[in-house]
Assembly symmetry: C2
Homo-oligomer: 930 residues x 2
Amino acid sequence: MAIKYVYYFGAGKADGNGSMKNLLGGKGANLAEMAGHPDLRLPVPAGFTITTDVCTYFYANKRKYPAELKGQVDTALRKVEQAMGKKFGDPSNPLLVSVRSGARRSMPGMMETVLNIGLTSKTIPGMIAKTGGNERFVYDAYRRLITMYADVVMEKAAGIEHEEGMGIRQQLDRLLDAKKRERGVRNDTELTAEDLKDLCAAMQQKIQDVLGKKFPDTPQEQLWGGIGAVFASWNGKRAVAYRNIEGIPHDWGTAVNVQSMVFGNLGESSATGVAFTRSPATGENHFYGEYLVNAQGEDVVAGLRTPAPINAESSSEHNQDMETLQKLMPAVYKQLFDIQKRLEEHYKDMQDIEFTIENGTLYMLQCRVGKRNGPAAVRMAVEMVKEKLITKEEAVLRVTADQLDELLHPILDPAAERQQTAIAKGLPAGPGGSRGQIAFTAEEAVQAAKEGRDVILVREETNPEDVAGMRAARAILTARGGMTSHAALVARGWGKCCVVGCGGIEIDLRGRRMIVGGKSYGPESWISLNGTRGLVYEGKMNMVEGGANEFLAQFLKICDAVRRLKVRTNADTPADARRAREFGAEGIGLFRTEHMFYGENCDQPLNRLRRMILAPDRQSRIEALNELYSYVKADIKATLEAMDGLPVTIRLLDPPLHEFVPHEEQKLADIALDLGISMDAARKRAETLKETNPMMGHRGVRLGVTYPEVTEMQVRAILEAAAELIQDGKKALPEIMVPVVAESREMATQFDLIAKVHKEVCAAKGIRKIPHLAGTMIEIPRAALTAGELAETAQFFSFGTNDLTQMSFGFSRDDIGGFLPEYLEKGILPADPFQTLDQAGVAELVQIGIQRGRATRPDLKVGICGEHGGDPESVKFCHRVGMDYVSCSPFRVPIARLAAAQAVVEEAAAAAGKKKPAKKSGSSKTKGRG
Amino acid sequence: MAIKYVYYFGAGKADGNGSMKNLLGGKGANLAEMAGHPDLRLPVPAGFTITTDVCTYFYANKRKYPAELKGQVDTALRKVEQAMGKKFGDPSNPLLVSVRSGARRSMPGMMETVLNIGLTSKTIPGMIAKTGGNERFVYDAYRRLITMYADVVMEKAAGIEHEEGMGIRQQLDRLLDAKKRERGVRNDTELTAEDLKDLCAAMQQKIQDVLGKKFPDTPQEQLWGGIGAVFASWNGKRAVAYRNIEGIPHDWGTAVNVQSMVFGNLGESSATGVAFTRSPATGENHFYGEYLVNAQGEDVVAGLRTPAPINAESSSEHNQDMETLQKLMPAVYKQLFDIQKRLEEHYKDMQDIEFTIENGTLYMLQCRVGKRNGPAAVRMAVEMVKEKLITKEEAVLRVTADQLDELLHPILDPAAERQQTAIAKGLPAGPGGSRGQIAFTAEEAVQAAKEGRDVILVREETNPEDVAGMRAARAILTARGGMTSHAALVARGWGKCCVVGCGGIEIDLRGRRMIVGGKSYGPESWISLNGTRGLVYEGKMNMVEGGANEFLAQFLKICDAVRRLKVRTNADTPADARRAREFGAEGIGLFRTEHMFYGENCDQPLNRLRRMILAPDRQSRIEALNELYSYVKADIKATLEAMDGLPVTIRLLDPPLHEFVPHEEQKLADIALDLGISMDAARKRAETLKETNPMMGHRGVRLGVTYPEVTEMQVRAILEAAAELIQDGKKALPEIMVPVVAESREMATQFDLIAKVHKEVCAAKGIRKIPHLAGTMIEIPRAALTAGELAETAQFFSFGTNDLTQMSFGFSRDDIGGFLPEYLEKGILPADPFQTLDQAGVAELVQIGIQRGRATRPDLKVGICGEHGGDPESVKFCHRVGMDYVSCSPFRVPIARLAAAQAVVEEAAAAAGKKKPAKKSGSSKTKGRG
């Protein structure tokens, strides 16, 4: 049996269906589903999909096709002809087709498209006849075909290099401009049929001159040229770069969709549009879309004309005066409205659809899960659960961590905004606020990011070549384009602050300035954007943390209902503790005692700590410790109280002592005086404390072993604080954590001290027992390996994956600047291991630690307190390996709650064999896009 | 059935045998073997052994005995009485017994002994009668019993504390001294029977006065007092301290040996002696021993009188004028000679025997495997193999690494020795040379060692209280004592330089000076010792490395025949390489390219390296590299040539670049000038290179990734050097090693460069292929974990256990000074993990690395190049885990060859289930003591 390479769709039936994305690509599978699924059978222009297998074959066989392909294409083309009642290349009733790419995962704008294939000197007359003598339309279509084909097929796919600005497309565009100048008109639409006919001839001549080849004049040659160009574009520079950024495998390949052309630009009863079944910007459950009368689909996406709203709900300040589709063509709108309803019910998710109306007839050109911003994703998830469209488990997969993060993003300070008037207003394409200096090109933005400067990329409009600069910029501002323009789509996908279609700005690219209201802004100027409202301000405005959204709390409750992993926070002060509880923290996973000596208002305790450190002998150290004691205790007590009985893991003094030694001579002198030692002695002591590799030096438990009095002071502060709270009728649950442990016996010395102090405090307070746990941090490779022994006495483990990563890799985090960027760039490491837990090494140590620890003590409490506790993939890992909780910074708590819930659902799916849990970083971005 | 607690021996039969050391202790088992084994049946005074089980019971039951013990002791005593024809407590024919300790492993002098038990007011007359009216002898024996018993039983075992110098023994000794003064005599022997009788009475009175108890006057009370005192002494301070040092478990317990007294001090036909079946100092195969006429055994060991040689072969400069036993009592000597022959043949090892001649009758009191020094151990092992007494496999277990080390020990520079006359001469008790300032007490020696000063402990004679000081000192010098004195035994066991019985020196302890030839030497004075010849020199003499011994080469050949593990060396220069081959190295396991920039005569290359490091851009770096190239290549070429085709593992640049930046401003300025950059730029570049934790910073392969030109230069130097040698008809086998690898992809970048340069060099030299391997160091925990991936391209692994230990523990080796000593002291770690490979953590990573590496590449070559490669226990570990080779410093190569051979034998024994391979460090000390 021959392999099936070509899948027909159209006229209520299809060879494929929506589940065949790997073979047909997303677009092809959805076209088949829309055309053929019994629930849908939508008016899809007939066509066929050439499978991704052909792409694979193409690259494996020196860009040749399988022998069977030609015949299968011919057969499918016959079916299309039948369905459409036209014939490809027929002089009297010609079929025109488009050739488009379609990968498994959408790569918007990254591959090539050729439209109007089938227009030749032979078919043009028939086409004119079939469009009621619309000669102008036909030559306009021909002009578009020639331009696209020359660019995509004859130049790019042929691998022809050219100088900057000398590409065939630019040369052909210049002919168009020349013709407009010659005719004294501004818009293409003002050119006559005759003008266009001349232009087509001139373009063909130019192609012959520049590329040395004739523009092909047979439909078959055009068709196969288009197919080859799409396959070739899979390995185009932009596509490869995009896949690298998005983590899409290079061997997936693209499918090619060949589909009958329908025309939205046949006159006033034709139109084209893009719509969403719910608002992709807010998530509101209303049909939302934009359309252009007498236009091709490209015109909407390109943002060249400002589109009109399809209905009242879709109107904005920018297009509220324009006529809606609902008013203009009520019957077609009704049909479209019903279709979108059926599509959402069918796919159980918000759909992004493209349609064309040709002479009053509606055609569905595409449907796919619609991209949305974070607030919209959250609201849809919550409302779809309420509508019983989806389950809670499905809902948690509908919001990515990045989307949730958008809601937590900083915004411009509302107070500051109230005092200033916006200099311009555009479309709110990406929420949150941002500020930066102006970058006028993608290159400038990339360079600025390298230098650590915040910039906003300001462009007339963006295109796929700008992607790196868009990523590097803090925010994006465009003068043109709508909510579905390139800039808007890309920014939304990344959760980046973005304002598009901001007509009030004028960009002078050569002069590197932006002119707004007659005032000029250069590369040094600061501007601020409110991406949620589409506002542009002059200057560097204050920012504040993102405000919660009414749906956020509901969504996180859904997550809480699904997840099993607890989420704690890292907090070092009572204020942190209170804030973290607001974010939903269920305890503190890391309270760093030493942090009370950093920051503001800590001169007093810090000085006392320094006295303790520089003390010449044990006696003066104990005196200094006694003075320090009250500060430590007060802080711990307030934190325990704020957490109201939720567990608080308090880490004993961790950093090397030298970190606290004052650098200023005067401060050192003061302490020396205070301690009654000479300045020389103080300097000598400070010198003694210096270390070659302080990260691996005399710190953590090693300090506790050599200076047991330091441990005693801290433990006494913790236990007395707890005892006093309990005696006041309050709740307190301290978990005392010994850091930097490499060997069970060193930990045991500290546990002995804890037991001793516990006894003493109980006796002093007349209390039988103070509830507390004693455990250790697992942050040294050897601790993970000897976890079985550690668990003999440790009641909990907390994985300190920051240090564990440092030591597993031998990477000093302070010193990776010299090589890590190059490692990431060269792909030596897939991700910064300090951001996403390294699966090949560190994760194994974590697993070994848990497994051996639980083998000794089955009820061992296990958590993580490195920064990975706030990284979604790492949180999922923590769930999979059976941790009890993760602990992260307060602002990451919601992210962790979501990731923990997703982990449950993914685990169930994996268990059911339906789906493997995501292993690669970045793959979470595709969750919820079905 | 009652448990058997008491084992009889004597008169040609015994309840136990030599294999029962755990139950009967070493001494008891050997007494049983000597008395009862059909091949031996030697004249052993009858007695019995109370088992170590009783000791265990004693400590588990508040110092009570099992109920059955009394009856079993009585029964055994009856058998002894029968055998000896005497009765315990019999007024007319009394049996006297000794009570001695006897643990599984010898703990010389650490536990208590009581002699002459059974002498009471009732038995004294009978004893006098039985000794032919030798009243003086009997009261002398009684005096000894009283002194020992009062000290050991009535004071120490009773736990009575006393002030310094006020112990009962000292008080009784003072009575003896008073009596001698009163009688105007110098020696004990000059006191009359009457004097001694008075003395005994005075002593008994003193005991009553001081201890408030009567000296017991019944044999039974004396016997049980003695037994209890021996059991009590197992947990005496000295014994506990000794076990801690030697790693002897505290729960083993001691046995108690009760044995009939025989007397070497009954007159001129009585004698006592200690002998060895071969010379313990040289290993020569002749009967060697010392004896004293009319003396008790203690007199020989205590070194109070200089003993005579038993035969001509045993005579030395010190006793060559004394009459030998062979001459004095030819028949007894003949009997003794035969016995020692049979003993050595029976035990197949050199025996240390104690004998007593009572009125012309020979008694064997003890036999055990004799301690020996390194040269003797090596010679005996070699000769016993030649004699077919033992196999090669047995031979390699007969020499410990420490003993072998003695042969490799430094000695005084022979040239210097020739130019100086010794100030004193003593017995050569511990080989090698040493020099140091004088410590007059053990405390001083310990203190000096703490301060890092080299001292020689100079004592009248040493005793077990001095052990810590003996250990701390570089060498030991005593004024008294023979080759079997405490100082000699202990020093020999440790392979420490030692001179004993140096009569020419006079020690003024109070004045803290040593007087030799009228000249005074204080604590500041330096002296030098030749422990191989027994010479003492004034001043701090030059030292040189230990010379090889004719048997060493033969012994190492035996090791080579047994071992499987290859032994390579770490060498950084052609000179090192040549020396290492002399030591038997089979390749270089670590050649550190950067070391050619350290040390003398390397200003030129170092400056060029510095230029390379400080180069402002890639171009000037390449220029500096080109200049550096010739130095690197010349060094590598000479090293490859020296190794003549043996593999040479060359590590690419490892340390962080900042290590090479000059500290002096002038040098930096010179380089800046040379590079044509400003001093500011040079300083800035140097500053940029500084790191917080350089050990985990931008070094090793990370440099190779970011500065590929540095790798290229080195690889080119290596491959060109090899190519040129091969073209000259010589052999060369470089193994290029990439250091600090954490991830296979970073290693792969370097392998790509190696392949590229290989191609280029081959082309340039017109050669098809240059033999070489490409591999990596496993020194980062993650490398061990991802070894499976690394082995996909790496052809060899070399475990860099120094860094692996640093990162597994999170211990910066430069910074452990603040806590590691305390860790070792408190027993938190059993050993310095940088000396002996940590079994609980690092070893597991090594095992994981090998296992995963070999799973991918079964023929993966695996070695170790950390300092552990020269540590015997670690070498054995390397053998067990299947490494191909170890690499260590040149001087440790023989040790590694030995350890590798022992590993084979121990493995076979473990496989045969006879014996577990030694796991604890230090246990190798007991090998060959059977």
